[in-house]
């Protein structure tokens, strides 16, 4: 039990680290230069709408398939008008990086646009965001208020009973304050499957020596970990034996067991953990 706790704690640390790592470089972007600030006004009403129009054409050709014609989400891609990354974007400070580098881990390819093209795309996304927000009350997408159909008491029962959540989680431990850190859809997605949870791996060398670390890479041919000192190490398979301890797999096993009511009730309960 203690071991499990430790693993969970480590997993939680890992999650936080990964989370900060993903966002920090974006948030830590240097203050926008005057030229960039000017460009950021493109999304504001009454400014360079030509730029947003040009960006719209590029968006339709390259982005709309996944993010929808109006950037409010579609096949695979998230609603950009409700994206935290877009909300914190200053004149492309966040968007440029994502478009240029892609997000291979999430299936988003990188794109080669000129600075001018990129600026127009950014203008379009900000214009669509402004449009969506002016439509408040009737807007598309998942609002926090949509996810309030569950019953707290039934959710608590599920947490401690059929859902077996309490086997690994505690409302006063790892989940304390979770609903203050995440809301709405983001909270529900994390509740169902925290995709950045870390797994522990134990590698047994031919000598019998065991090395424990956080799983960093695994395909059929190589196992990689970050060991206790923070160093990345890898081994060729099958030269070593390994075992993965992945508590998050319990979430996968739960998928076939949920009713939709279970999910809504559980969400109601989790939202009380502020």
């Amino acid at each position: 039990m203690k071991k499990l706790r430790t693993v969970l704690f480590l997993a939680a640390i890992g999650m936080i680290t990964l989370y900060s790592a993903r966002w920090m470089p974006l948030n830590a972007a240097s203050p926008a230069s005057p030229a960039k600030v000017q460009a950021s006004a493109a999304g504001a009403p009454g400014s360079s709408s030509d730029q947003a129009v040009a960006g719209g054409a590029l968006f339709q050709a390259n982005c709309a398939f996944c993010h929808g014609r109006d950037a409010q989400g579609g096949e695979t891609g998230p609603d950009l008008t409700q994206s935290k990354l877009v909300a914190q974007d200053i004149a492309g400070s966040n968007i440029d990086i994502v478009v240029r580098n892609g997000r291979p881990e999430k299936g988003m390819p990188s794109f080669k646009f000129s600075d001018q093209e990129l600026a127009s795309l950014v203008a379009f996304v900000h214009a669509e965001k402004a449009k969506a927000e002016s439509n408040n009350g009737r807007r598309r997408g998942v609002a926090v208020s949509d996810l309030q159909t569950g019953n707290v008491e039934a959710g608590k029962q599920y947490f401690n009973g059929a859902g077996q959540c309490s086997k690994c989680h505690s409302p006063t431990g790892d989940l304390a304050g979770i609903a203050s850190r995440y809301q709405g859809l983001q909270l529900e997605e994390r509740m169902l499957y925290p995709r950045d949870a870390k797994s522990k791996v134990t590698v047994t060398l031919p000598s019998g020596k065991k090395i424990v670390g956080m799983l960093a890479y695994l395909d059929g041919f190589t196992v990689g970990m970050v060991d206790a000192s923070g160093t990345y190490r890898s081994w060729t398979l099958p030269n070593v034996k390994y075992s993965v301890d992945s508590p998050v797999d319990a979430h996968v096993k739960q998928f076939p067991k949920y009713t939709d009511a279970d999910i809504h009730n559980l969400m109601a309960y989790i939202q009380t953990l502020r």
Partner: protein, 538 residues
């Protein structure tokens, strides 16, 4: 003058010698007979031949020697778009694409012969799956729902026709299919509520020969939009039937705006290729509300089913069901899920899944398996006749689906979010639908490689991490792998040239040719070829 004459004869002599050495005396292109029985040194259609089995008769590469497979050459497109096309091979030249681009490349060395660049356009650039060829002409779809015909010799354009109005929201991504004197192509575009169709064009002039409308079921109260036809079909020459898949209805997630089954969306249809007349239809997802196209390859297999010889059609469909049909009449022989499926109430008399209304997208969300990209998608499956295995690139997955009145009844009309999925190559026993083996190729993530099997018992595919894989078809065990720097993004193909079998895979913007090392006096040319093609191909 005399000198000139000598030069002329020398040149003539050299030309004759060169021609005599070539395996097919002259560049012959593609004709109807060749399409019915493609030679080993060709791959003249998207799936290699009409059945869609993607099963090669080549046996040089075997389970025993595949461990020696190495790089023959690589070709750099220098594009950010990944290669989703399966190259065609005709007369020693490969033709393949990414959106707006066609390359002709020497199949022996991987060096560039020509590069065609389609003019700038506003069409959807989501992908391009390759070209079709007839005689010495290439047929290529622009993102803006145009078809162009190019001269296979030099890539010059012969004509450019409009197949649908891109300003309304149509686009095209597919490799057309040539059947007889027809170049057949569908359309894409479900961001808008648009009627969909399959069309046939004259290979010489591009003139429209026929159009089959998805929205053509008798007794429809009002027009049905959607049902994109974005993947090439298959063809049975004896029955003279063309098999094509159709996509989801629109609005996509909001089904209340379009009550009923929404025929013929999410269907497998059999058409007469000469007239475009419907012969039969089977609906894989009646009244779909989850974006599950039924455009995955309708694979044609002749074999035993329940003790009777049958002409079958098999599809591992995006909605999670594996279907076996009698392809003479569309009657269902088998319907079995091959991954998690939680959206149906069972099967109807026709063997079609019955959608559960409680699993329609809703304001507070519904947990749905599979996710919207399906248990499989467009990457090609393969059928191995020896083992009776249908191999599919599978993505068991779960997701949340939402729809509410303010999402409206146009286009996507809702929202869905993938929660979890993994990737596996699954080998389905076609007689029972049971999964005989499953080889995981992506832990907590999807992969995307298509599948090729060979008569020697080797399966070629890829994993989610960038490895090209050769598996043993009988048990799924890995026989060989090579890191290619990005996940395999197309469906592999193979061919034999000068006595050497090549296997081609695309990862990111690079096309790789794999072969066994040359033996006896000939030299390895891989390293040289790679560096030669490291330059920008323009």
């Amino acid at each position: 003058m005399k000198l000139l004459k000598s030069i002329f004869f020398l040149v003539l002599g050299a030309t004759v010698c060169t021609l005599a050495l070539a395996p097919r005396v002259m560049a012959q292109g593609v004709d109807a007979a060749m399409l019915l029985n493609p030679p080993a040194d060709s791959w003249p259609t998207y799936n290699g031949e009409y059945s869609g089995q993607r099963h090669s008769k080549l046996t040089q590469i075997t389970p025993q020697n595949v461990k020696n497979l190495s790089l023959a050459w690589a070709f750099q497109t220098n594009q950010t778009a990944s290669i989703k096309s399966t190259p065609l091979l005709v007369d020693g030249i490969l033709y393949f694409t990414v959106p707006d681009n066609v390359w002709a490349v020497d199949a022996r060395s991987g060096h560039l012969i020509w590069h065609y660049h389609y003019p700038p356009n506003k069409g959807d650039h989501i992908g391009n799956r390759g070209v079709a060829m007839y005689k010495n002409w290439i047929y290529f779809m622009g993102p803006d729902a145009h078809m162009v015909s190019l001269n296979a010799k030099d890539g010059t354009m012969r004509w450019n026709i409009v197949v649908a109005d891109s300003s309304k929201g149509y686009w095209t991504t597919e490799a057309p299919l040539v059947v007889g004197d027809h170049v057949i192509a569908g359309v894409g575009g479900d961001l808008d509520n648009l009627p969909m169709f399959v069309q046939s064009f004259d290979p010489e002039t591009g003139a429209l020969q026929w159009r089959w409308n998805v929205d053509s079921a008798p007794g429809l109260h009002k027009p049905i939009t959607g049902g994109t036809t974005w993947m090439p079909g298959t063809y049975d020459p004896k029955l003279n039937l063309l098999y094509w898949g159709t996509g989801n209805p629109t609005p996509v997630l909001n089904g209340t705006a379009r009550p009923g089954d929404n025929l013929y969306t999410c269907s497998i249809v059999a058409l007469n290729p000469d007239t475009g007349k419907l012969v039969w239809a089977f609906q894989a997802s009646p009244h779909d509300t989850h974006d599950w196209d039924a455009v995955e390859t309708p694979v044609l297999v002749d074999g035993d089913f329940n003790g009777r010889p049958r002409k079958m059609l098999m599809q591992a469909s995006r909605n999670g069901y594996f279907f076996v049909l009698d392809r003479t009449n569309g009657k269902n022989l088998l319907t079995v899920p091959y991954g998690p499926v939680n959206w149906s109430l069972g099967l109807d008399k026709k063997g079609q899944p019955i959608p559960n209304p409680a699993k329609d997208p809703a304001p507070d969300g519904r947990l749905i398996a599979p996710e919207e990209s399906g248990v499989t998608n467009w990457r090609a499956p393969s059928f191995d006749p020896k083992t009776g295995l249908f191999l599919v690139s599978a993505h068991p997955s779960y997701s949340l689906y939402f729809a509410k009145p303010s999402d409206g009844d146009y286009g996507w009309a809702g929202a869905d979010y993938g929660l979890w999925g993994k990737a596996a190559i699954e080998a389905i026993d076609y007689k029972t639908g049971k999964i005989r083996w499953s080889h995981e190729v992506g832990r907590n993530r999807g992969a995307g490689a298509g599948i090729l099997t060979t008569a020697s018992g080797v399966t070629f595919t890829g994993d989610a991490y960038g490895n090209v894989l050769a598996l043993n078809t009988s048990d799924g065990k890995t026989l060989w792998h090579a890191g290619s720097g990005a996940p395999v993004s197309n469906s592999p193909m193979t061919y034999m040239l000068d006595g050497r079998q090549y296997v081609l895979t695309g990862s990111g913007g690079v096309l790789f040719a794999w072969a066994l090392p040359k033996t006896g006096g000939t030299t390895m040319q891989s390293a040289r070829s790679v560096s030669k093609n490291g330059r920008k191909p323009e």
